[in-house]
């Protein structure tokens, strides 16, 4: 083959390739799903794992031909907006979603952002899936927010009860960052612990979110000699340091939190001192993960270089949106149809082994089904990995 033929062949292949690509991309209409959350600054880890979970799943769907809703097959496009953990920016983000004609949005990640976007979402006909716990977002007359995870007032009592029955926990202490989310989670935790008959020996110690040395913070908490130390709403960045400081000060009791954590971060930051740390996880532990969950983790790792265990709880929201739209294609542009479908919706949970289901719950906590049903998976960290401690269902 001479050089001219090679060049002609290459040019022809390029033209065909480009044509095929444009044909393929033009083949499916695009279904835009929004994400409004924090992907920069100190809390970036919360939103980045969220956004990347959505992007991983969307790329996977598109690679395998798109998602079929009614008679149409769509490619999924994730439209992301960094709200910088600022409620004003979150409102701007939700307005941008409305301008783009998006009706389904995942986020925001924190309480004040989720509360701030409510008027925009309700006026513009947007259903949003916050990772925020205030009940007022999900109780009538509010109806457009769907809690995207298990709330601390649901997981906390289950964890405390388990530890009372299995580990003889009687005295509990709480420590929280001085921010709205951790503080509200602490207050909810104290209330739940007291309702279960636990003695709260320390509940007022808080720390600045930018604290780097937790030894002075944790010292008075440890001196109260609790059986269980609860790190309310602790961020993955702070958890290893708090655990390490507590253990180095000689604390030998249990440590838990109701937020999701990353095993790699715990291992790097606290090593074996984090052994026994209890947190809320998702479906990626070997006992629970389905083949699809394992493939999700592999694809995420390929796309972004490293998996984040926080995504175990964040893999669900996009799946719920798409599966609900499949169940009622009319909801694609009509959120009222979506709300109607939520009451009876049920589909297999593809990320867990067994016969777990996707469905909407929350009637007990909120008086209406405004929460995704994800399993309450409580993990224990041990030697660099999470092990499933127990699994429960909320609502």
């Amino acid at each position: 083959m001479n050089r001219r033929t090679v060049i002609r062949s290459a040019a022809l292949a390029t033209v065909i390739g480009l044509s095929a690509a444009s044909f393929a991309s033009a083949e499916n209409p695009v279904l835009k799903i929004g994400f409004v959350g924090v992907t920069s600054g100190p809390a970036a880890a919360w939103g980045i794992s969220n956004q990347r979970s959505m992007e991983t799943r969307a790329a996977w769907i598109n690679e395998t031909g798109g998602v079929r809703i009614g008679d149409t097959t769509y490619d999924v496009e994730i439209v992301a907006f960094d709200d910088q953990k600022d409620p004003k920016r979150a409102i701007a983000g939700m307005e941008k979603m409305a301008q783009e004609g998006i009706h389904y949005v995942v986020g925001p990640n924190v309480d004040d952002g989720a509360a701030a976007v409510r008027p925009v979402a309700e006026q513009q006909g947007i259903i949003y899936f916050p990772y925020a716990f205030p009940k007022s977002l999900y109780q009538a007359p509010a109806s457009n927010a769907v809690l995207g995870m298990v709330a601390n007032y649901q997981s906390g009592p289950a964890i405390y009860k388990y530890l009372m029955e299995n580990n003889g926990v009687k005295k509990v202490a709480f420590v929280a960052a001085n921010e709205s989310d951790p503080l509200s989670q602490r207050d909810g935790g104290i209330e739940a612990a007291q309702a279960l008959g636990l003695e709260v020996v320390s509940g007022s110690v808080t720390y600045q979110v930018d604290t780097t040395d937790f030894t002075p913070v944790i010292l008075p908490v440890i001196q109260a000699r609790p059986d269980l130390l609860v790190l309310s709403g602790v961020s993955p960045a702070n958890a290893p340091q708090l655990i390490r400081s507590a253990r180095e000060l000689g604390y030998e009791g249990l440590i838990s939190t109701e937020t999701a954590q990353d095993a790699g971060v715990l291992q790097e930051g606290a090593g074996e001192l984090a052994n026994g740390f209890i947190s809320v996880g998702g479906a990626s532990t070997p006992e629970l993960a389905s083949d699809m969950m394992r493939e999700f983790v592999a694809r995420y790792t390929t796309m972004f270089g490293e998996y984040n265990d926080e995504s175990n709880t964040k893999v669900y929201a996009l799946e719920y949106i798409l599966e609900t739209l499949k169940a009622n294609p009319a909801a694609i542009g009509d959120v009222e149809a979506f709300k109607t479908t939520m009451d009876s919706f049920e589909a297999p949970n593809p990320y867990m082994v067994g016969d777990a289901k996707l469905s909407y719950v929350g009637a007990t906590s909120f008086g209406q089904k405004r929460q995704v049903s994800v399993p309450l998976v409580v993990n224990e960290f041990r030697d660099g990995a999470f092990q499933t401690l127990f699994v429960a269902q909320v609502d």
Binding site: T39, S40, G41, P42, A43, A44, A45, I48, S49, N178, S204, V205, T206, Y207, Q208, D210, T212, D213, T215, P216, V217, L219, P220, V221, P236, A237, N238, P240, Q241, E248, L249, G250, D262, G264, V265, E268, G269, A270, G271, G305, E306, N308
Partner: protein
């Protein structure tokens, strides 16, 4: 009380080392380097990469952090601050540039190192327990001692080396130093490199204790500014005093005020406002600059 003092000394040593770099840059160039915290974070991530990812000894990571941050500092001075200072006489030009560099470094760190908290294994195991009066892990003691040794080394360098004397002359009177033959551009670049290197060294040291993450830059800069406001901007001894005072205030406040909630920094900020109203130049600063 012994524990509070020990915590305060440990915090003070690391804070003082952070403040030294910032005050050095300010004294030489009259530049408020808002990107100092981001340089600290970058230093931490370099050490993490060398130790945690490549599996090399901690000391190699520390040297890599020092060298890379010195290069970054020298580059920032030569290619960014020097042209801006030459073209603009307004102080806010360098402030805006420093803020821009801070945002830029934040974005670069997020892209290169990701959003996760990072850490490296403890460099020394075990915990000192003196009859439950002082409990201090050995690695903290080592880091505290290293920080104090670095502060001492820095003072000796500034006091007795030719470059140190030249930089002190620059800090005292830029024009007079120039007339005496000091190469202003060279020593400004060296000073900026040294300041950035100190930030990188602290980041590298503390990655073994506190870990490092993207969000630490801004708060670290704020604390460093507080320290030099307490001690007096542009004064080396003031930065050291400011660091130890802030560390001790934090340790005392977090222990004694714990029962009243998270009011330690509220009290520190209120005290700082009153103090600055009485002595705006700080403890060791001169009122005329």
């Amino acid at each position: 009380m012994e524990q509070i003092l020990a915590n305060g000394l440990y915090l003070g040593a690391q804070y003082a080392l952070i403040a030294l770099g910032l005050t050095l840059i300010f004294s030489l160039m009259n530049v408020l380097n808002f990107a100092h915290g981001q340089m600290y974070v970058l230093g931490g991530f370099v050490t993490y990469t060398v130790v945690g990812q490549f599996g090399l000894p901690f000391i190699v990571g520390l040297v890599a952090s020092a060298l890379i941050l010195a290069l970054v500092g020298a580059g920032v001075e030569k290619f960014l601050f020097r042209p801006v200072i030459a073209r603009s006489k307004r102080d806010e030009s360098t402030m805006l540039l420093a803020a821009g560099i801070a945002f830029f470094l934040d974005a670069v760190i997020l892209l290169v190192f990701g959003e996760k908290q990072r850490g490296v294994p403890k460099i020394v195991g075990g915990v000192l327990n003196w009859d439950f009066r002082i409990i201090m892990p050995y690695d903290r003691i080592l880091i505290g001692v290293l920080a104090i040794a670095m502060i001492a080394g820095f003072i000796l360098f500034m006091q007795y080396s030719r470059a140190g004397r030249a930089m002190r002359a620059l800090a005292q009177d830029r024009i007079a130093a120039q007339l005496m033959g000091v190469d202003v551009e060279r020593y400004s670049m060296l000073g900026f490199a040294l300041g950035a290197m100190l930030a990188g060294l602290v980041g590298g040291l503390l990655v073994t204790i506190t870990g490092i993450n993207l969000g630490m830059g801004g708060p670290t800069s704020i604390k460093a500014f507080m320290m030099i406001m307490i001690g007096g901007a542009g004064v080396i001894s003031g930065a050291i005093a400011g660091g130890f005072i802030l560390g001790m205030m934090e340790s005392v406040g977090l222990t004694l005020l714990a029962a009243y909630g998270d009011i330690t920094y509220l009290v520190i900020f209120a005290s700082l406002m009153i103090f600055l109203a009485i002595r705006p130049q700080g403890l060791m600063g001169k009122p005329w600059g």
